[in-house]
Amino acid sequence: MPTADPMGVLSGVHFLDGDQACCEGALAAGCRAAFGYPITPSTAVVERISLRLPLVGGVFVQMEDEIASSIAIQGAAWGGSKVMTVSSGPGMSLMMEHVGLAAMTETPCVFVNVQRGGPSTGLPTLPAQADMMQARWGSHGDYEIIAICPNSPQECFDLTIMAFNLAERYRVPVMFMMDEAVGHMTEKVVIPKADQIEVEYRQLPEGPREDYLPYRPGKNMVPPMAPVGEGYRFHVTGLTHDERGYPAMDAGAQAELVKRLVDKIRLQAEDICQVEEHQLEDAEVIIVAYGITSRVVLRTLQMAREKGLKLGVFRPVVVWPFPEARLRQLAGNKQVRALVVPELNLGQISLEVERIVAGEARTVLVPHAGGALHDPREILRVVEEVLG
């Protein structure tokens, strides 16, 4: 696999916040075009990228709003660039139509969402994890995306590279779901040498231009993506389309296209999913946590184990597609009595967990409306209650 362009890689040991680390991850991944609009708490990402892109041969344009940002990236993606935009809360809501466009036209792009409390203007400066369902279903219609939840500045770097690679491999919008706490947390970030960073680029068509069908699926159910300006004379539309890319207004074409858009993610979830597991071997209760909350619960785990409680932690690093198979397997284990799901919302991923385990084990939500993080002792109290 090709490795990163050294120009964009700030190799070394740094002290960065999550927003800055995310920006460096994007540059290392090869992002050379970014469009954005300032909004708390994601502003630091666009500030850093406006500072850095001109030095690495790229362009940042601050657009007139988030709607413009979320489609300017798609123009640039079709122009051959690796692209991203960044926002939070209300800005993400404005971008949702274009998440759907990217899904429909199979445009590789990364949307970074530094989550804050909502709904509406909500809590601009404080964390939440309440956009998880919006990330998956925020645009109208049926489609699938990929969503990744980092829990540290180091992961904001590493997983941003993964976000770009997945976007390019599957030609899909990837939602990079940070939150205010991860975005503003400052820690050591190690940036490796460029030759140690693998980067992917979309599959390009082969064969004669006149035979090219822009939406004929190739490897991984993903159609090769032609470069613009090279005589392919392709058409791209947000309308339901056939393999030629032409509008096709009937139920058959709709079924064929939409099913593939969904299946290319659902059926390849094994390749996309990434999880982290702690002390599950003998666990009677499993905490399922993601993003910043997956760090908070490590303290709960430590306290529980000190008390002799058989607790484990299961963390989806990639939240969409959800690691269903593995979770079902864990829940099927006889010793597992319950899954405890703390999240900074009033029940989103917990519903998914409940659906997946389908009664094999109890699912207990530890809700939090956002604005702060869970107290690890509060989660421990729920674990103790569950264990009776």
Binding site: A68, I71, I73, G79, L101
Partner: protein, 286 residues
Amino acid sequence: MNDHVNPVEPYLRMERMPHIWCPGCGIGVVVNCFVRAIEKSGIDRDKIAVVSGIGCTGRIAGYVKMDSFHTTHGRPIPFATGLKVARPDLSVVVLSGEGDLISIGGNHFIHGARRNSDIKVFCVNNFTYAMTGGQVGPTAPIHSIATTAPYGSYDKPFNLPFLADSSGAVYVARWTTYHVRQLTRSMTEALTKPGFCFLEIVAPCPTIYSRRNRLGDGLDAMRFYKKASKVVNGANTRMVGLELKGPIIVGKFVDRDRPTLLEAMNNEFIPKLGKKYTPYPTGVKR
């Protein structure tokens, strides 16, 4: 046997014919002029990308045999800006209607012109949302009838050349679909001029707008355009607003030069960043 091939045909996706446009509609004329302008400009068609939004005019992207993008409602201008940033060597042309570009996309329009994004915006103004059946639009003349203005439109329409001019477009012209030669010439000039170039093309919608407002059929529209149009090149754009059945001032109103978005970026960064900055390709030959 007739072996004559219409010179426009090689530029069309003939396998998609018949198109969706109604008899007498002005959009076909616009496509025809556009293709002839490409030929006249000498630009390799494979180095031109066409971007449209949603609506009747938005369907142009689907019929031209070129790299073409049918985007979302109101957003072809920022899409085109992104495409041009990634590929400054390409000519990027936005072809869309006034409802798309000026109403829902109005903010993108003024900002595209302000930053002089090097894109060409050819706006077909038929005074109505035709695809959805004839609702009132941002250029609908006062007193005109629409399905959502059943007693007559009463809010002031935009004067598009004035809007483009005051927002910073470097080239602003207006023609009707009667003025095919002038329109083709303006399109050719716009294609070869760096910066945000805007053309308003006044076009008939016989099925909906003209019928509802008792303006006759497509041929009547041509007769009206011929009679009502007055060429005033260099006209003060403030003075070229349109009224129902009123005179139509046409011509090239603005033709000036200023740095494009990418040129301006280089102009700012080269002295500030020195050797740390590699000038970005702009695609502009001056």
